[in-house]
Amino acid sequence: MVMPIGSTLKELFRDYRFVCAFIVLLFLVALALLSFFSPYDPTIWYYAPRDLPPSSKHILGTCSRGQDVFWQATFAIRNSLIISAVAGVFSRIIAVAVGLVAGYRGGRTDRFLMFISDGFLVIPLFLIIVMLAMLIRDKMTIFTTGLLLAVFGWAWDARVIRSQVLSLREREFTKTAVLSGTGTMELVFKEYMPYITPLAFSTLINNMSWAIGMEMTLSIVGLTNMDIPTLGTTLKWALNYQAILMRRWYWLSTPVVLSVFLFIALYWLSVSISEYLDPRTRVQRVGGE
């Protein structure tokens, strides 16, 4: 499982899904980076004529708020990616901490932490997030949206990490390390982390995808800051101005198509990585086809 990065990448690039996803993601990240060179400020309205169809000056047209759809979309991708990265990284920290402590300490601590994470799994989290978002609506920034999602996005992955730690704890090398006087901290960080890092990474991708979708949903119900362009708020503005009825497809479909590409690319990446990590399916892939 613990392998040098070079050969890992080589193996991953043999999977067509990984290659496709990687290219799409590169393209989307490039779009996001393009936002730094935008000629327009995304928070200003009516800098361009309203509702222009696509042309050479505005390649995806302009929206009813007098903004360039293409440049607005670059900001949207950038902000959505930042939100999902914040949510993903912070929830990974919680998930790894909970998984490690629960798995390593076992006993009552384990039961308590798993009870909490079970509760998080069962309760319809969307509703709890909505309620919290309602109360901090004025203070919603990219960062707080990410943090809010991070608080709720760790439960399942903590379970996955815990079961990995449970099996590591039973292995021979743990006993050797403990008997030879390795401290708990050193054992966990030096010996366990190489096993847990790939797990944290593959769950990170799924979590980012979830966060992007959740941000879109929160924006649609009007609970994020509508002045910050994200995939969700861009879509919400299009819907608010009746882009469906007015048939302004270039405006409406830009966030939808971009987000669909993003979701599919992230998913393919995670499937490809987790199949690589799980030797059972790997054998099937190599041996079966």
Partner: protein
Amino acid sequence: MFVRKYLIPRLLQYFLVIFLGITIVFFIPRLAPTNPVERTIAEIRSRGTYLDPAHIQAMVDALTEMYGLSGSWLQQYKDFWVRLFHGDFGVSFFQFPTPVIRLIKNALPWTVGLLLTTTILSWVFGNVVGGMAGYAHNKRWSKVLDALMMFVRPIPYYVFALSLLILFGYVFRKFPIGGGATIGRQPSWTLSYILDVLRHAFLPALSMVVLGAASWFQTTKLIVQNVKSEDFVQYAQLGGIKEGKIMFRYVIRNAMLPQITNLALSLGQILSGALITEIVFSYPGLGHLLFSAISTGDYNLIMGIISLSIVAITTLVLIVDLIYPLFDPRIRYK
């Protein structure tokens, strides 16, 4: 033995989860930086209404009382539970003075109908087709289906529902794009009314069934592929049992068992998905009610919807867990 070893710990867990969930719901508005009363007043002011200080004080008092925020936290907490047991969530703010519970009661049948039908349909459909695809995983149709699912599976409920809405509502205008029945029709048990309801439910249900089935399809397919390589399958094949019988009676049946547990675990997410889908299609269920509650800042209604959902979902999970032994002959809790 069943009662002591399994039922009692499970019931204990059930009550603990409800307790935890409701307690979180109770504390969120109280720990958040702004409380509902301040928010409501700020919203009224932002609409440009002039209020003199005496009126504001009167409103603060009235709202504090209405949201159950008067008295010490301990007192409020006790009241909260007492009211919950009586199904009393106070009065709604956006349809003043209708009690929250009545609004929920009107919306509930729509959500329950949509949720139950789509959950069962997608579970059965996804598992059976996924099982067959996993059993025949080298066949062309299985690979085509699998590739298709790779595109459908990652799309979140909202985006998928919206795409269906645009596609069917505006491009091929076959189905109504909003509401639960034609506006102004009296509910009745006539055939034409039922057909009308079904026609309205078609798109929301389709979007939930496709997304749900895609996820069941993929997990079952993986499980079946693994079960298929086990010794007993080979033994059955050597023994000359018909392929169809091996597939359904032995392999798929084995693979479906863990999916029952997974169903219990994902019910909360499915409910969230149903609420979101309802918002897209303005389906008159709890999701739509939630949307109105959010747009008008109706805290009592939101608290009502959340508390009720928590109790309903945990109860459903408990039921699924308790009937599990009926499906798995290996577990008899002896």
